[in-house]
Amino acid sequence: MKHAALIASALMLVAPAASATTLTLFASGEDLATEGFTEPRLTKDGWALEFSRIIAHVDQVTAWQSEPPFMGDGPDIEGTALEFGGPFTVDLVDADDADLVELARIDADPGFYNALSWALSPAPQGEFEGFSLVFEGIARRDGDEVTFTLATRDAILHACGEYVGDTRKGFVTEDAGSELEITLHLDHLFGRADRPADSATNLEALGFDAFADGGMHEFTLGDLHVGHVGEGHCHDQTM
């Protein structure tokens, strides 16, 4: 009986540490996905956007411990890899209070996971087969109301450095897990009315006027570089 109690105690001591040594992968479209483009953060051409769904299809996700640190300045990351794999289909509107959607949680060795590679790739099947990123919602401006579906077939491979945000993420210890984040910056697509019209983002963003007749439109991500890790940047290239 005493032995059983000791074993149970030992398990209780060991189990939390083992379960905590994990790395969790999240995706986010930030508050522009969950709250939409609202005054004063309208699109660069003055549209308010309310999204019902933003479906992203992500694959080939790998976390890296890179040394020296990978700076997101090229396609190749060197270091110790930890594969999340994929594919993952995620609705960025259906997120938690922090605008995050959990994609996967895997066991991870202690270390600093300071790089992340992932692909935005077309879904091989399902409702949005052939599309990698789909926006559904309602746009409003000056009394006009337009229901839209915007979709792209682009396949883009991302090689990102460390997460940049309110906290520094990616540190897995013996006692605590950590998390990484794939972040899509929607203002790179639609622009921001509250930013200068001649800002680089607004000059390159698509805006919404091109889709103002509503219905289904396909678009290309081009060089808009929507994929990030928090505020940290990624090298991206078409697959």
Partner: protein, 160 residues
């Protein structure tokens, strides 16, 4: 540009005349040592400066929590006075309007040759005109550090 001057000044000032024994408890000694300063500048590749950007500094002994935070000046610059008793990789993040960039600087334990830039950073997609951030680190000892030493904040750094 990397500026490295192996100059370390130590100045001890004492009164030339010893005070009476009863006043020794009130003797004052000033010690000044020229500190190492690391100047970080953030800018976008279109030339825009990261004016007023938020700066977070992480020391090697606790890389998950900021050692200090601050704000870049109107030229996108931030001056860091690292604690040289914490040798290793220091990480500086600069954030503004949804964009962030990172740079790493190795600080050595040898005070005579305490700092060296082992990595400068350019985070972002190099093909992007809109998003790439460029951060440049300058490391040096000397008059710049001396002049700004007295603006040092608790925690060991000051922004310009």
């Amino acid at each position: 540009m990397i500026r490295r001057c192996n100059v370390a000044l130590a100045l001890v000032v004492a009164l030339g005349v010893l005070p009476p024994q009863s006043l020794l408890a009130h003797a004052a000694y000033l010690t000044a040592q020229e500190p190492k300063v690391i100047s970080i500048r953030g800018q976008y590749d279109n030339g825009d400066l990261m004016e007023g950007a938020q700066v977070l500094v992480f020391a090697p002994d606790n890389p998950a929590e900021p050692w200090t935070t601050g704000t870049a000046d109107d030229l996108g610059r931030f001056l860091l006075f690292p604690d040289t008793s914490l040798p290793g990789r220091w990480t500086i993040q600069m954030r503004q309007a949804g964009h962030g960039a990172v740079i790493h600087v190795e600080v050595g334990a040898d005070s005579a040759d305490a700092a060296a830039v082992l990595a400068t950073a350019a985070t972002g997609a190099p093909q992007s005109l809109a998003q790439q951030l460029v951060m440049i680190a300058l490391v040096g000892w000397g008059a710049l550090g001396t002049a700004l030493y007295f603006r040092r904040r608790r925690g060991g750094n000051a922004s310009a």
